[in-house]
Amino acid sequence: MNDPIQSHRLFDATVTFLGQLLDFRLERHALIASNIANADTPRYAAMDLEFEGALQKAIAREALPAPRRTHDTHLPGSIREQLSVAATPVRRKSHGVGNDVNSVDLDTEMTQLVENNLLYNATAQLLSKKLNGLRLAIEAGR
């Protein structure tokens, strides 16, 4: 983030954020895969990442007034440039059906798998379009 060309001009916060989003989707995919692989494991509690909640929190944090340099002799601090979203896995409670205390619901997991997959593809496409836009500018529309 110290290199002004990298962080401010060419690749702005959107690219970084979309990259983070892809990471997040991959992590969520691994958790869903974990739930499905353990669908028959006794006493396994299903896990999930709450992305929307984490994003809301990150945006709320962003809305707080950021420190500004009010004098030239002040030390330059790091300026918050991008949203950083951190989501931690949460365990889902068992709905009490079945006698192996396993809270994996295969239908829910498959739905979330497809949803997550689509959103990953959508994010990848956004990133692709963003980079294509840059390329267009570099090539001056040739």
Binding site: L22, D23, R25, L26, E27, H29, A30, L31, I32, A33, S34, I36, A37, N38, A39, D40, T41, P42, Y44, M47, T88, P89, V90, R91, L106, E109, M110, L113, V114, N116, N117, Y120, N121, A124, Q125, L127, S128, L131, N132
Partner: protein, 145 residues
Amino acid sequence: MDFSVAFDISASGLQAQRLRMHLISSNLANIQSTRTAQGGPYRRKDAIFTGSPAQPQSFGKILNLASNLPQGVEVTAIVEDSRDPKRVYEPGHPDADPQGFVLLPNISLIEEMVNLMAATRSYEANATVIDAAKNMALRALEIGR
């Protein structure tokens, strides 16, 4: 986190379900077996599934997340059913006791078929997850193309 973790998790699921399927076929094949190497009739076998961390983790990270990490599945034990064998009156059988009763494995055909279907569905689910991960990886490769 990279794609290999996601693939490893689903692969462990496939492996575990396949082993479960092997045990079910063994149970079905031996539904009439009265002799085994251990002596006595065949006993129904079942796999014990246990969640296992999918990737080597540092102690601190595991402590922080309190094991809320993606887990693969592992067959940690193959156990024998403790139910008593069935006693069937069949005086002509070479393994019959003096009263004419033969001990047959206590395997329920319906129970095994239900387990077989469950294992098949779980296997398919894991295969679908691998397919989804593959699609994601391919889409990631297309970024910037």
